[in-house]
C-alpha cells in the first residue's frame, strides 16, 4: 500500500491507491481476510437495495428529495467496515446509509427518512446516537470541525476511538473544511476526512471547484498526510481507512483521503467486488442472488414498517428546542 507522507502526494498525484487489479484480483501483498471481503459485499448490496427503495419513494412523490448513494458504496461501506464500534462517524446526507452497517435497523433508518421519527429533518439528514453517527447538517462542510472536536476529546479522554468524517468534493471549498483540517492538524486529532470525489457538486465540476490537481494534496496545507484512493474499489478504501485508524488509535493524527468515484469507466463498486469474489471463489452466483434478494426484501419491509409508523404530532414541534420546553414555547404550543 502506497501512502504518501505530508508532502508525498503532490509529486505523485496520479498514484491512485487500488487493491483490485484490472483483472479483478487482489494486488499482491494486500492480505484482506475473506470474511471482511464478504462482509463488504453484503454491506454494499444492502445499501444499494435500501437506496433503490428510497429512490422509488422519491419517484412516487413520497420523498421530496433524496441523496442517492448509488455508485458511492465502495467509499461508504469500505470505510465503515474499517471502523471499530466505539468510533464515531460524521456523515453528509449522501452517507445516510452508513448507519445500516453500524447496527441500525433498516426500519429505523427508513422511519427517519420518511419523517416518521422526529420529523424535523428532510430525508437523509439522519442521526443515530446509538450507532455513534452524528446528526447530518444541511450546511455543506459545517460538520467537519465537529469531527475534529469530537476526535480530540476522545484522545484527551485517553480512549483509542477515532473519528471518520465524510465530505464531498464540493465541500472542500467551504470555509469549515479549512478550519477543520487546520484545527485537526494543529490539535493532532485522530480524525479522518474522507472525501468522496464524484467529480461534481450539483452541476459544478471539480475543475470549477478548485484549481488544485487533486483534492488529496490539499492535506499539505495543514501538515497532514493526503492520500488518493480508488473509491470504486471497496477493498482499497477499507485498507486505507484501516491503516489510518490503526495508527490513529495509537497516537496518529488527522489525514485526508480523496476517494475518486468518477474515474474509471467501470464505476460500479458492487459489480467489481462481485467479480473479484467470484474469481476468488468466495461467492457463487446463487449466493449473490440470495444476498441481493434478502437485501431487497429487507429494504421493502423496512419501508413498509416505517410507512406504517405514526407521524409526529403537532405538540412535538416544540420539543427539543431546549432541554425543557420553556414557558414561551409552552404558550406557543398551547395557545396558537
Amino acid at each position: 500500500m502506497h501512502q504518501t507522507g505530508s508532502r508525498g502526494t503532490s509529486s505523485e498525484p496520479d498514484r491512485l491507491l487500488r487493491a483490485l487489479g484490472d483483472d479483478d484480483s487482489l494486488v499482491s501483498g494486500l492480505g484482506v481476510d475473506e470474511g471482511t471481503r464478504r462482509a463488504l459485499f453484503s454491506a454494499m448490496v444492502r445499501l444499494r437495495s435500501f437506496d433503490d427503495a428510497c429512490v422509488a419513494l422519491q419517484r412516487e412523490g413520497t420523498l421530496p428529495t433524496f441523496f442517492s448513494s448509488r455508485l458511492q458504496e465502495g467509499v461508504i461501506c469500505g470505510a465503515a467496515q474499517a471502523l471499530a464500534d466505539g468510533d464515531a462517524v460524521f456523515p453528509t446526507p449522501r452517507e445516510y446509509g452508513v448507519s445500516l452497517q453500524r447496527g441500525v435497523a433498516a426500519e429505523d433508518l427508513a422511519a427517519q427518512i420518511l419523517g416518521k421519527a422526529s420529523g424535523r429533518q428532510a430525508p437523509c439528514y439522519v442521526s443515530f446516537r446509538s450507532a455513534k453517527v452524528a446528526s447530518v447538517s444541511g450546511i455543506i462542510g459545517a460538520h467537519l470541525p465537529h469531527a475534529v472536536g469530537y476526535a480530540w476529546s476522545a484522545r484527551v479522554r485517553k480512549t483509542s476511538h477515532v473519528v471518520l468524517a465524510f465530505l464531498g468534493d464540493g465541500a472542500t471549498s467551504s470555509g469549515e473544511f479549512h478550519s477543520a483540517l487546520n484545527f485537526g492538524g494543529v490539535m493532532k486529532a485522530p480524525v479522518l476526512f474522507l472525501c468522496r470525489n464524484n467529480g461534481v457538486a450539483i452541476s459544478t465540476p471539480v475543475a470549477r471547484q478548485t484549481a488544485s490537481e487533486t483534492l488529496a494534496e490539499k492535506a499539505h496545507a495543514y501538515g497532514i498526510p493526503g492520500l488518493l484512493v480508488d473509491g470504486t474499489d471497496a477493498i482499497a478504501v477499507y485498507n486505507a481507512v484501516r491503516t489510518w485508524a490503526d495508527a490513529a488509535r495509537h497516537g496518529g493524527g488527522a489525514m485526508l483521503i480523496e476517494a475518486r468515484t468518477d474515474l474509471l469507466p467501470d464505476r460500479d463498486p458492487i459489480a467489481r467486488l462481485e467479480r473479484h469474489l467470484m474469481k476468488d471463489n468466495l461467492l457463487s452466483e446463487d449466493a449473490a442472488r440470495t444476498i441481493d434478494a434478502e437485501a431487497r426484501a429487507e429494504a421493502l419491509a423496512a419501508v413498509n414498517v416505517a410507512k406504517g409508523r405514526a407521524a409526529p404530532s403537532r405538540e412535538t414541534l416544540f420539543d427539543d428546542v431546549f432541554a425543557v420546553v420553556p414557558r414561551h414555547l409552552v404558550s406557543q404550543r398551547d395557545h396558537a
Binding site: P64, T65, G115, G119, R120, Q121, A122, Y125, S137, G138, I139, I140, G141, A142, G170, A171, S173, S174, G175, E176, A201, I202, S203, T204, R208, Q209, T210, A311, P312, R314, T316, L317, F318, V321, H328, L329, Q332, A336
Partner: protein, 332 residues
Amino acid sequence: MSEMNMVQAINDALRLEMRRDDRVVVLGEDVGKVGGVFRVTAGLHEEFGEDRVLDTPLSEGGIIGTAIGMALYGLVPVPEIQFADFIFPGYDQIVSELAKYRYRSGGEYSAKLVIRTPVGGGIRGGLYHSQSPEALFIHVAGLKVVCPATPYDAKGLLLASIRDPDPVLFFEPKRVYRAAKGEVPEGDYTVEIGKARIAREAVPSGRKDDRMVTVIAWGAMLYEAIAAAEEVKKKGIECEIIDLRTLWPLDIDTIVASVEKTGRVVVVHEAPRTCGFGAELVSLITERAFLHLEAPPERVTGFDTPFPYTLEMEYLPLAHRIVPALEKVAGF
C-alpha cells in the same frame, strides 16, 4: 404585457438589465450552465458568457466576498445564494463588510451589489431549505431588504434594486415562485424601493359593529393574509392588507395611515416570532399610532423553533392561524 410567474419575471429582469448595463454580472453556485436550482438564471450563461455569469466554488463567503471586490472595482454583481438558509457562512461578509464599507471608508468607497436568494417554507424542504432570515439583516445598518410577492413587483423591484446605489438583499418567496402568476410588462420599468402597496383596501360598511383590521404581510404570506381576509369578511371583519414589498427602509407612512383608519393590526411573517421583523413593526406602530390603537397589535408568525420538516404546515402562519388573530384584535 405577458403572463409570467415569478421565476420568469426575475429572469426577465436580469436579462434586461444585463443587456442594458454591461457592469452587471451574475455569480453563484450552479447559476451558469444549468441556470440555478430553481432555473431563475436560465439562459443567461448562454447569452452573456462566462465572464458575466459565473459558476462559483461552494463557499457563500467567497461568493459574497468576491462580489464585494467586483463592486469595489465598479461592476454591479448580482450574486445568488442557492437557499437563504445557506447565507450564514457568508453572513460575516454581509454584515461586517458589505453593510459597513461605505460608512467605514468615510464614503470613499461603496460596495453596490444585490444578493438574490429564495426564502420561506412550504416546499417540504425542512430545517435548511425553508428559513426566512430577514430580521437578521434589517437589524444591521447599511442594508436594504426587499421581498416581492408578485411577478410584477419582482421584476420592477429587482430592476430598482440593481440600479439603487446601496446594497440590497433581494428575498424571493420560493413557495410562490411558480404559483404566483400575473401580467408583467415586457420592457423596462421599476417599482420604487421603500414603498408598500395596499393589496386590499378596507371599505367600512358603515354598520355599527363593523371592525377593520390592518394586516401587514409580504412574500408568500401575502396570499395567506388575503385568504384569511376573505374568510373573516363573512364575520363582519374588514381587512386592509399592506404588502410591504420593501422591508427596509420601511414605508411607515402607509402603515400609520392605515392603522389610523382601522385601529387594529395583525402582522404576519414566517420567521420565528421573537425578535422577528414583526417586533419592529409592532414597536413602530405603538410609537407612532398609540392613541389610535383599539387593541394591542397581534403577531402571527413562525414559532420560536427551528423550521420543521413534516409539520411545516403547522409551523407556518397560514390563513388558519391568521383568522383567529383577526378575530382576536377585532373583538378586543
